[in-house]
Symmetry: C2
Subunit: 136 residues, 2 copies
DNA sequence: TTGAATTACTTGAAGCTTCAATAATCTAAC
DNA sequence: GTTAGATTATTGAAGCTTCAAGTAATTCAA
């Protein structure tokens, strides 16, 4: 039997990732939310400095500014100045943001395809993925 | 033992995907190429209508226009009008594009993390991923 | 043959992403 | 206390991405 080409694994991995993102994108569109907006809402169980939000989202802090602008314009979150450090702006959900976050969580907790695997296969996949992840 | 949460698998999947893309991005930056530009070059073993290039890249045709603009400006590819159907523009590598494509292939064929798995584990991962991919 | 659909590509708007540069604030060393 | 250096958030530029709309060319049917 021929050796598995890592290249082929990468191809499948990217396809699956694109497929999942596409699913979330479609579901979230019903709420008029984008994937990055939903990812940010998900992190806001507790108020969070923009700074730390960028860390959770694995993106540049300057990126958070725009996402927050749009969520704030819709009244889903608000920037709160921190009294102890006036550079920092805490992101906090509004009442309507809290309701939206519950709907977002329901959508993001689904995993079409992956959840169809039998439990032992899911465990195996989890193990293999975590061993493929460099560092941490 | 608690059931594996599909959500956790998705998280790892996205992380691995981001990690791989980050690796390619860094390596390609040395060639002053972006990941989408490299992905397009990789497809151009033979000349291809922009149309079909969009299909291979799983993206909107309008997206190809901009990527091609930039690669063409650097003299790596060229648009060739098809005589038999003057709507179609074939994308073809220039001589310098062919050299660049070889360097791109060397970079994209690497799979850090994944390639460190033992052969049987790679085979298992391949199988699990392909079974997680919805349809076909 | 001509008029209506279809197809290929492009453009513009909106949003995401990164990087580099900037303003405001804070910390620490002097 | 003042100043030099870090840190937080923002802005602007460049590129990617999608969708909607537009143009040019082709196909097909009446």
């Amino acid at each position: 039997m021929a050796a598995t080409k890592p290249e082929e694994i990468v191809r499948l991995l990217m396809n699956l990732s694109r497929s999942l993102t596409g699913y979330y994108d479609t579901k979230l569109a019903e709420l008029h939310l984008t994937v990055p907006q939903a990812m940010l809402l998900r992190q806001l169980g507790d108020a969070l400095p923009m700074n730390e939000a960028a860390g959770k989202l694995h993106c540049d802090p300057s990126n958070v500014t725009g996402i927050v602008d749009r969520l704030e314009a819709r009244g889903l979150i608000e920037r709160q100045h921190l009294a102890t450090d006036r550079r920092v702006k805490n992101l906090a959900l509004t009442a309507s943001g809290r309701r939206m976050r519950r709907r977002v969580e329901a959508i993001l907790s689904a995993a079409p395809g992956v959840s169809d695997l039998a439990a032992p296969d899911q465990a195996a996949l989890l193990a293999l993925l975590s061993r493929s992840l460099p560092r941490q």
